[in-house]
Amino acid sequence: MSTSTRPARRQGRNTEADLIAEDLAIEFDDDSSGPPEDRDDHPFTQQRPVIQAVDPKNVCMVVDDASMTYRVRSSTGNNNSGGRISRGLKRITGAGWAEVHALSNLSFIVNRGESVGVIGTNGSGKSTLMKLLTGKVRPTSGEVYATSTPVMLGVNAALVKEISGRENIRLGCLAMGLTPEQTAAKYDQIVEISGLSDALEMPLKTYSSGMSSRLQFAIATSVDPDILLIDEALNTGDAQFRARTKERLDEVRANAGAVFLVSHSLGTIKQMCTRVIWIEQGEMLADGDPQWVCEQYEEYTSHKSNGRTRAAKVVYERTRLRLDPVKIDFTSGSRPKKAGSSRIR
């Protein structure tokens, strides 16, 4: 591979990355799964962005330059910010703010029919992204748009501990906006999926964590949402439960317009997804073909876990060079403002 074309391609990029890449003589293969073919490689015009028209009928979800910074109450964190007086005040009250930059400037479009896997090491911002996508939290800047309110299937959300499993099923269904008749109709299916028919009369506080996550899963999957977010925690549970849930999960996935799957299991991701987004340290690092992204991710994590920081950095930069960021532009006046319905169906 000749080196002469490379500087032009990566003009305006991180120079440190260039150095490292040059250093280790990394090869770029320009075929397949890389940036789109319509990119202008000419050095003089390549800075001009390519404008692509997107068919609004296909679009399911648009994340427009979303950033998230958490401000949480903390008695220890971040006591160095602010002026002298505010610092003194914090020392006296013991109540300060800690700022956590969880995500920065994320933009992507998801089309109808796509299954998007989201990967990243712990603390990279996956869960934050999921919270933004479900609208539980509004991004500090940027916005998230969709055709309908996405629904998260997770097991981390506990139900009401003091009341029985049976009451929790009814309460959960009603909280999703089902009518009492629909709730009654779904009841047997939920009990069957949860496999908890013996423990239904017991209050939820007597359940083990596995049992309550099964119940939560069964309730959450009783509806067929259009945009579905699946949390990695669904991979927990014993083999028997997993077999039972897989069938239902496939059904829900088949009915959904778009699916997000957060997982640490690359096998699941490769098997289920048509596209993978890799988030690292709050930034999008890759967005594309599952096979390719997963390979990079595997290499990155294996370097990381073996303490080869420099090699990991190389993989990181190499992957980032392939990233093809997109900017969202709504045709004049069509930036969505209206709210979605709280009811699922």
Binding site: V50, I51, V54, V72, I109, E143, V160, P180, P325, S342
Partner: protein, 312 residues
Amino acid sequence: MAAPALERAGGPTESGDARRVAQLDGSNLIRVGARPGLFRYIREIWSFRHFLYYDSHSRVSSANSYDSLGRIWMILNPVLFGTAYFFVFGLLLNTGRGIDNFIGYLIIGVFTFRFFTAAVSGGANAIAGNQKVVQAFNFPRACLVISTTVRELFSSIPMFFVMALLVLSIGDMQLGGAESIPITLTWHWLLFFPCIALALMVMLGWSLALARAVNAHNDVKHLISFSTRILFYTSAVFFSADRYADLGVEWLDTVMSLNPLFCVLDILRHAWLYDGFADPGRWIVLGSWAAGSMVIGFLIFWHGEESYGKER
């Protein structure tokens, strides 16, 4: 604390090195998590009425499930407090001087006061204390506050029965030098229902406003328990409102008559203890509080709808 504006000015910032611009027509899309308009919000609450009812109902039955005496505490609690106040204020401090049927007076005061403050402090905590439910589902958040108030009403029904029984049986007991007027069950007792309905509206309005405040700033909780104390000592729970007039502090009398809880107590006492009507001014003050709190509280809560899922 300002709520986030519905549409941010200026739009998103320019992102650094995007080489692709995707142009699309967003008129079919919604903004995820956006707050619906006021009337649509009310309609959504209506469509979640079954959830609201079931939530309050199921939690009444489990409210005291950690205690071995269970639901008996709902009655035992005000009875114990009433007895304690009777000894402290009635016998030791003798605040009941000049009050006819002081025992009945004190029972109505203590029981109703407990109902009022339990509902308001419960409602104020409805969002902050139910983060798990808020995180898991997408219903309009006002449902949680409303259901807390409804739950408080449900769980107070046995307490109100005990209150009526106590007033009927020992309310007119002869005490010291005070006169006793025999208490009988008349149709005036029915005034209890419109009076409590108006009180519920006041409580709901306050709960809605406080729920948002507590969720945004946990510090408000401390202020609530302080304000509850103040309300207790200024609502004539265990003394007569005439005390202020006797002391010659005119403005305190005015403040008192504008206090919605005092209006509730005064209406109930006139109906139950003295078989008559309270001053019509009390109904006007209470009615205005009910309407005003409902409207203002609801608007405050609705305006913060997008902030309730936030980590604290």
